[in-house]
Symmetry: C2
Subunit: 281 residues, 2 copies
């Protein structure tokens, strides 16, 4: 496995493979890797000849009061994990590589589907994601890019971005990797105290209960209300509990396939999860 820290070095490593028509897979990450990331790499290995993983904590997707400075940087450990799952190239640029000294003047906005859900609590977050993803796609020029379904809104936004700008690649969503007790794996889980960690699986449990109730015919509105109440009672501070279509359009009734979304805080840690519920056929 090679590690490249410059755009120039990465191009030099990738161009021979590109010219040999190898299929290039790309997994963008912010490092501090867990099994969820490694499963993205494993999926990429299945259909690509060569897999690039980027490790870059992107300043433009953090808000002023968010955890950019404290976000864990664990490159050595991440590199070992990536080598074990067959990653071919790690791209770990410094901030100066990705954002040159000369002031940037270009912004990318994805409208509508960036509003609400995580777009509400994190203003500007998805503009930062759209920008860095576009830059990384142009630098890596992959055939396929892999994103986790845990960040479902991000996945749909990136797919829209790629479609709207005719980017020459396919974005693949990979099912969420979970701990045995159901908690969606996330780098931020490391912030949880032991007590909080014991409570955290209730988010996924709540989503699954909601699914059962929906399939039994209970009203969507009542179910969302019940989820909020139950999680609040358990000690979560609710950010949102919401249903959308898989294209992120608002939905009032369970008369089509939907995705249930939860974002909630335990102490200082913000957790998100989601579950798709298909209308019975």
């Amino acid at each position: 496995m090679k590690t490249e820290t410059t755009i120039h070095g990465l191009a030099a490593s990738l161009n021979p493979a590109r010219h040999a028509k190898k299929l290039i897979g790309f997994v963008p990450t912010m490092g501090n890797l867990h099994e969820g990331h490694l499963n993205l790499v494993r999926e990429a290995k299945k259909i690509c000849d060569l897999v690039v993983v980027s490790i870059f904590v992107n300043p433009t997707q953090f808000g002023p009061n968010e955890d950019f400075d404290n976000y864990p940087r664990t490159l050595d450990q991440d590199s070992h994990l990536l080598a074990d799952v067959g990653c071919d190239i790690v791209f770990a640029p410094a901030v100066e590589q990705m954002f040159a000294k000369e002031p940037r003047k270009t912004n990318i906005q994805v409208t509508e589907i960036t509003q609400g859900l995580c777009g509400h609590a994190r203003p500007g977050h998805f503009d930062g994601v759209a920008l860095i993803v576009t830059k990384l796609f142009n630098i890596v020029q992959p055939n396929y890019a892999f994103f986790g379904q845990k960040d479902f809104q991000q996945l749909v936004i990136v797919q829209q971005l790629v479609r709207d700008l005719n980017m020459p690649l396919e974005v693949i969503g990979v099912p969420t990797t979970r701990a045995e007790d159901g908690l969606a794996l996330s780098s931020r889980n490391g912030y949880l105290t032991v007590e909080e960690r014991a409570l955290a699986p209730q988010i996924y449990a709540s989503l699954n209960h909601a699914k059962v109730f929906l399939e039994q015919g209970e009203a969507l509105k009542d179910i969302l209300e019940k989820m909020k109440n139950d999680l609040t009672t358990s000690g979560f501070e609710i950010d949102y509990v919401e249903a959308r279509t898989p294209e992120l359009e608002t939905v009032l009734h369970f008369d089509q396939d939907i995705v249930l979304f939860v974002a909630a805080r335990l102490g200082k840690t913000r957790l998100i999860d989601n579950l798709r519920v298909n209308v019975p056929t």
Copy 2:
């Protein structure tokens, strides 16, 4: 010369060349071609193995009261001209190819340098340019793209866009092609009456006089004022007469290299031109 009207067809035509490591040059146009466009193709031929010219009248860069519907579409004539200068592939997509039925949600903005000059009279114009250029670059994936210096602000904006988004290509500015009397070639010159056509070269003459006065030490502010007065007296309706740095920053004095810009109307036709003036060394 091949003509492709679909994104899929263009990819099929280009991929063998791309895999053979041919250098691909790209000249985006709105058709109604003149010697200025043909010179872009000639420049492209000098350094590229294969040249693609797109002909697409882009609805997103026209304002509601502009000439989108009446903009001349002359594909047959354009194709003959392009074949004569050695263009390899004409890409002439329908609007539905470039803008699918599904609503677009992604916008690109280049800030600061899109303000003022043509950005003032044509609000939203450069957002439309940034979007279509990004889409076309992603579709064609050229090594080099060629733009005329006549649209100097557009050239600088596209260069900024490419740099900010790390697009894997180089943007090359080609000097303005002029009629014998100095008028910058433009598709819109065809709108001029005989009388207007006789007056039109005064724009370039005015720029050249200004250059001489600057080099003689006259104050920039006075010169710009004189240009406005003279052109107005001659029958032009001034949109702007302005000086900027070559990076499009505002400039008050001729203490560095500058570009002089003119936009003015003759009847219903809006003409633009510019001239670089370097500080004497």
